[in-house]
Amino acid sequence: MSVILRLKDFTFSYPEAVAPVLNRLNLEVETGRCYCLTGPTGSGKTTLALALKGLLSDGSYDGKIDMPGQTDGNSMAVGMVLQDPEVQLLTSTVGAEVAFGLENLCVSPAEMPQRVTAALQAVGLHKPLDYPVDKLSMGQKYRLLIAALLVMEPQLLILDEPGAQLDPDGLELLRNSLRHLKDSGVAILLCEHRPDELLAEIDIFWQLDNVGSLQQGRYQKDTAASTIQPPEPVCEAGEVLLQVENLAFLGVDDQPVWTDVSFSVGRGSRYALTGLNGTGKTTLLRCVAGFLSPQQGQVRILGDAPDASRLRGRLGCLFQNPQKQIFETTVRAEIAFPLKRFGLKTPEIESRVAEALAACAIGHLADQSPHKLSYGQKHLVALASVLAPRPELLLLDDPLAGLDDFHSLAVMELLIHYNRQHGTTLLWTSHDPEAWSGWADQVLHLERGRLVAR
């Protein structure tokens, strides 16, 4: 095995940062090996990946990145798939997407179809070249992105948190693809804080800590969650807060997303709605909240049909990527905003904000700008601002996506605290049927367009 990439005393700092995010890193990458970079949220895994690909533009750095392996003009040394597949798919058809890199390398158009087809077969994506990208599942999109890099024949392939995007089936297919890539000499670097499903293919673990140091071995704080006992189930749920009957929703080209969906949620209970990516969990939550109209069936929520103006203050919603709702200049103002709009008096607002800050353990950030916080901290701020009004029913769309186990545990404990303390009824979605399902009184699973209770 030969070394294809070497880092020597590499240090990187973001502008205005007090301390470097990466601090005197040394590492070597060899052909045909799979490395896994672990570490808590915000420890700099993505920053290191961007540095290896040469995509860091703002900031100051020191040290060296050597790439002894030479590439010819028709290939590239390092390929990288970022976290969110949706924003990386730049064209509208499968063939054009895979060919995008070849266009950039000025490969002759006559040569492209053969290379594109080979790359698609290497990841097991058997679709026509003019197949619309929009119609692929999330797992297929991820493999398409890998094909779009393989076609450029990289020596090192970096995948940033594939586990956050892929369901168990998608991870199984990814594991097979990784095995083939290793066999053909490609080095792989996974930036992942939950690598369990890909363990069989990982040769070497690295861990980054919160001061930017790198050492061999796996980040161990991830085991914290497994030692925590799930809370006691709610013995007797109260009145029905949410009643869903025979709901059906048609999506693109009038294809049913799901049909015959019925369930009810009692006051004070905790429900998990699970299902693979693309099964319509978000769509179902939006129907429940009244933002989408189902083609069939009816929803009764908090005593009547869904109506946003009636539900304000009683229903809370935390949609995917909750950081995007943040707009105030301080954490305190962000949490206080809904309380002011719901007409609470100033002393009550201050008391609720203090309670939310304490419950989320972000009291020390109260006067900071929420825009400058880490990913996990922003997540907690957004959640605190939804919890502070103490909604009767709280809908959460994949609230743990992108969080490490430490922050996931913090979020789940916070939700359980409000559930017990204030009787907040919870309905959360997850693409992983197993994760945290023990913390729910009932698990509803969406599969092949139908809802099944587990």
């Binding site: 052909t31 995509l55 392996g69 590239m76 390929g79 798939v81 970022l82 969110d84 924003v87 990386q88 730049l90 064209t91 509208s92 058809t93 063939g95 054009a96 060919a99 995008f100 890199g101 070849l102 266009e103 950039n104 390398l105 490969v107 002759s108 158009p109 006559a110 492209m112 179809p113 087809t117 080979a118 077969q121 070249l129 003019d130 779009a148 890099l149 450029m152 024949e153 053909s184 000499g185 490609v186 080209d253 939006r286 933002f291 946003a308 103006s309 304000r312 203050g313 919603c317 935390l318 949609f319 995917q320 909750p322 995007k324 709702q325 707009f327 002011k340 709009r341 719901f342 939804v386």
Partner: protein, 222 residues
Amino acid sequence: MRQVNLTPAPPQGAASSGDVARVGLRMLLALTLSCLAFVARTVPFLLVLTAIDLVLLWWLRSGQLSLRRELKAFGWQTLVILVLYLIRFQDVTGLWAGFKISWQLFLALLPSMVFVRTTSQVRIVQALNKVMPCRTAFVLSTCLKFAPNLLAEIKSIYEGQVLRGARILPRDLTKPWNWLDFIHCVVVPAVVQGMALAGNIAVAARARDFGVRPRRTCWPGA
């Protein structure tokens, strides 16, 4: 180092120069109709343009086009403009002028929307490459592709903020003092999201060596 041994596949759906020319013509037609809508000041002129657009819609009818959806958007846009005119002029005499402005705006946007929804992005890039630098062509086509993503983001922000108590429901926005909530809670986060989206797209393109060379070749398929 590594080779993937596979049987070669024949090119599929390769674009002929005739295809590219047809796309270029359609693009030119859409732009011309949009520009004409801005200079149309009389009702007969607007009626003629409307008839041409309807013929275009019928000609290009497909699963991706829905006259009902376009008319719904027109209805909402007209309602907002009429409310603004009522506030501005304080009586109903300004409503006809408001309706004409809404009509013009709709006719300016409709041809471009129809063109984008009925033409493959690859074909648009191929046509644009003939008349502008390839990097500019890519940026333009990417803007078209990601416009719906940005709209979906804005919708998601709007829905979240409604339930956080922001006074931004249509009935709330009839009161001008609530417009500040809309700017504060929806426009500001939407701009932040838009910039983040643009940054992410740029990184994704650079991750596949976009911009490494001054020129690009073009995928021959559809």
